[in-house]
């Protein structure tokens, strides 16, 4: 197995290099093969490795491949090495499988688009970086993947750079996540200066030995790591970039902004869970951030009209669940939900991409309707995805994973009733918005006045071939069956997933007895999910007039607008950071929604404009500036 592992990230990287350097000489067919095959091969290798892992005894499920020591300076000797344990294996499975399915889907979806080769190059770069991120055994090497992921995300969001708005979205994503990354870097520095190493296993070991539970150092390290994770995973308060990141092509949204990249933060926290375990305060912060985010984003999703933005907010909300799970110490539950979410969210995005395409690039769900008959496969798969997202009881993967999270929110010793209530309300909201999309898009009468393609054949001609449909079907299967390996603990069934992760991610200590132990919470959640679907049916399919009536009400409208703009976070950032500087400029900025578009960048640009004045090209000013410098230097000398 040692020999195989390095090839998993190697293949996509090679594909990237080939595609990037190929120039404009490649035929689309060759591009497609070069773009998809390596990742599929990686997925195959991952499968083989998984087989070997399952065959091995639990304590033998570790694989470490060391290439070389990067540098030796004093005690600093970071290694270029891979470390595979059940946690990274799960991540690797998700990345390679979902990744190759999405690549396959893109073969047709992106056909004929400007920059076909570029697209596959970036996607492979992304997959390779993500694999390095999850496999590296050293935090410094992990950062390589972390940066690579950020880089390819920037490139892909701004893929259609012809439109300046896309460039702005790319910049926003880049800068907002950078805020988190900087904190992460400081965190790594702290860990290194305190523990003398950045090797993950060593660090976790020595953290446990050297830091007392609840010590300031552990809390600081955990909070800094958390900041990085929040940025990457689009959690409050660094969530603003993700909805705008929908500017990229839909497969990008599926892969990066749903299935993999945004889960990197979850992975990072799970990877360093020992530090969090030592810092109950930081863990509490994690849980609160998760809870607040899942509610905030769920409510935002309810008001969105752009189908991709609904899914984007839904992603933020679902990752909120994962952070909530991490916050209560339910590490493996978070990873389980991560996996299930990757399946159904990728499915939803891919299906949404086909819907948008069929509608002639229409994103507004209010202008869709009745697509059930026109796009049967898309409808059914989307329905499955939505059901899984809404945690439809007993069958879907989303049910099992979310049930585990919600259950542990209450029964874990770090959990409490308040967090549980938030999670349950979140489940209600999730069902509402998920089926709102289903009913508005696929049921009712066609609302669109846009020229729609006349025949199904024609629509198929726009990219509904096998390569588009097969990934949908596979993902739909996974979105249902992917959860059966882990039944709720009250059922006494198998718990293969958490058992598999047990050596890495210990199960949280649970409370015994009482409300949490009974079947009541589970029943409540299940009933609420189903009831919410029915409520959604009533509101959006049966009696749209009621909704319309309520929507007329000014109070509701204001609320709805607020939710539509992501509860005014962009505006808040605008007010807090931008306004104090407004007096510096004459005009100010009218566009409120975008006032927060990279506030930092805006501030920087302002300073830059002031500084540029100094570059007047006039030599005598340059001499004067130098003289000023001399005077200042001398003044320092005299005054000291």
């Amino acid at each position: 197995m040692h020999a195989v592992l390095p090839f998993v990230p190697f293949f996509p990287m090679v594909a990237f290099a080939v595609l990037a350097l190929a120039g404009g000489r490649m035929a689309p067919r060759i591009i497609a093969i070069t773009g998809v095959a390596p990742t599929a091969l990686s997925a195959l290798l991952t499968l083989i490795t998984t087989g070997a892992f399952l065959g091995a005894p639990p304590d033998g499920r570790v694989l470490s491949v060391s290439f070389w020591t990067w540098v030796h300076i004093g005690g600093f000797a970071p290694k270029i090495a891979f470390y595979l344990d059940p946690l990274s294996l799960v991540m690797m499975l998700v990345v390679t499988f979902v990744g190759s399915l999405i690549l396959l889907y893109s073969v047709e979806f992106m056909k004929g688009q400007e920059g076909y080769r570029r697209f596959f190059a970036y996607m492979n770069l992304f997959i390779g970086s993500m694999l390095i991120l999850v496999l590296s055994s050293d935090l410094l090497f992990l950062l390589v993947g972390w940066e690579g992921v950020g880089l390819s995300s920037y490139l892909l969001i701004g893929f259609w750079y012809g439109d300046p708005a896309n460039g702005a979205a790319a910049r926003k994503a880049f800068i907002v996540t950078r805020v988190g990354d900087t904190a992460l870097l400081v965190g790594l520095l702290l860990i290194f200066t305190q523990l003398g190493s950045l090797d993950i296993q060593n660090t976790m070991g020595s953290a446990q030995a050297e830091w007392a539970r609840g010590s300031g150092m552990a809390t600081a390290a955990a909070l800094l790591i958390l900041s990085g994770a929040i940025g990457k995973s689009a959690q409050l308060p660094l969530q603003t970039w993700l909805p705008d990141a929908m500017a990229g092509p839909t497969p990008v949204s599926a892969l990066i902004h749903a299935a993999t990249m945004v889960t990197a933060g979850v992975y990072l926290v799970a990877r360093t869970h020992v530090v969090f375990d030592l810092a109950p305060a930081a863990q509490m912060v994690t849980a609160i951030i998760g809870a607040a985010t899942l509610l905030y984003a769920g409510l935002s999703a309810l008001a969105q009209t752009d189908i991709k933005r609904v899914l984007a907010y839904s992603t933020i909300s679902q990752i909120g669940y994962m952070f909530l799970a991490l916050g209560v110490g339910a590490w493996s539950a978070a990873i389980f939900h991560l996996m299930a979410h990757a399946f159904f969210k990728a499915l939803l995005f891919l299906a949404a991409g086909l819907v948008i395409k069929a509608m002639g690039e229409e994103h507004d769900i209010r202008r869709m309707g009745g697509l059930r008959k026109d796009l049967p496969i898309v409808f059914w798969t989307f329905l499955i995805g939505a059901a899984s997202l809404a945690a439809f009881p007993l069958v879907t993967a989303g049910f099992f994973s979310k049930d585990l999270v919600v259950d542990l929110t209450l029964s874990s010793q770090r959990g409490n009733l308040f967090l549980w209530v938030v999670a349950v309300v979140g489940a209600l909201v999730t069902s509402l918005y998920a089926f709102r999309v289903v009913f508005l898009v696929f049921f009712g009468d066609p609302q669109s006045t846009l020229p729609r393609s006349t025949s199904p054949q024609e629509r198929r001609g726009r990219g509904f071939g096998k390569a588009s449909v097969v990934p949908l079907l596979v993902l739909a299967t996974l979105a249902v069956a992917g959860g059966w390996m882990q039944l709720p603990r009250q059922w006494g069934g198998p718990s293969a997933f958490t058992d598999f992760l047990q050596p890495v991610l210990p199960a949280p200590a649970t409370r015994v007895g009482g409300f949490a132990e009974s079947a009541a919470p589970q029943v409540i959640v299940a009933v609420i999910s189903v009831a919410a679907i029915y409520l959604s049916y009533l509101l959006f399919a049966r009696r749209p007039a009621v909704v319309a009536g309520v929507a007329e009400h000014p109070l509701f409208q204001r609320l709805s607008n607020l939710a539509l703009s992501g509860w005014g976070f962009d505006r808040l950032y605008g007010a807090v950071f931008v306004t104090p500087f407004l007096w510096l400029t004459r005009g100010g900025r009218g566009d409120v929604i975008d006032a927060g578009v990279s506030t930092i960048a805006w501030l920087a640009r302002l300073l830059q404009r002031l500084l540029r004045r100094s570059q007047s090209g006039r030599l005598r000013y340059y001499v004067a500036a130098a003289s000023f410098g001399v005077i200042a230097f001398i003044a320092v000398g005299i005054l000291r």
């Binding site: 004067a624 001399v630 005077i631 001398i634 003044a635 005299i638």
Partner: protein
Amino acid sequence: MMVAFWIAGGVAVAATGMVITRKNAMHALLYLVVSFLALAVVFYVLGAPLIAALEVIIYAGAIMVLFLFALMLLGLSTRHERQERAWMRPQGWVLPGLLTAVLLAELIYVMASGGPGAAPGAAPGPLEVKDVGMSLFGPYLLGVELASILLLAGLVAAHRLTREDPEDELQ
């Protein structure tokens, strides 16, 4: 000695002041020569006859001749004098004057805040030309070599810059 220092120093300052305020370049250069000659006296008074001679020969002689040649090549006329007058409007002096005044104030503040004590160690004897020569070609031998390389660099650079190649003009 003291009197000679004061007179020569005063002349140097006054002449330099004229250099930076003249409109006519030729006049300014003549004042610069005066300034250099006055400084040569200062150098002599400070006990450096060799340097005084070099100041006269090289600064007031060679370098000034270079300037004069350049002026001839540039052919500055009365038209330029008028232009200089236009350029030298009083407000143009404010910021530079201020900056320099602050700098000068800082420097003078330090000079005035008590002089240095006598030089420690053995009382130094008078310096002769021979001493300077011994230093130049003793410990500073490499420095002399470097100075020659510096002059070579100046020569090559000036040669390159002033030489016009008719073929290049075609580009």
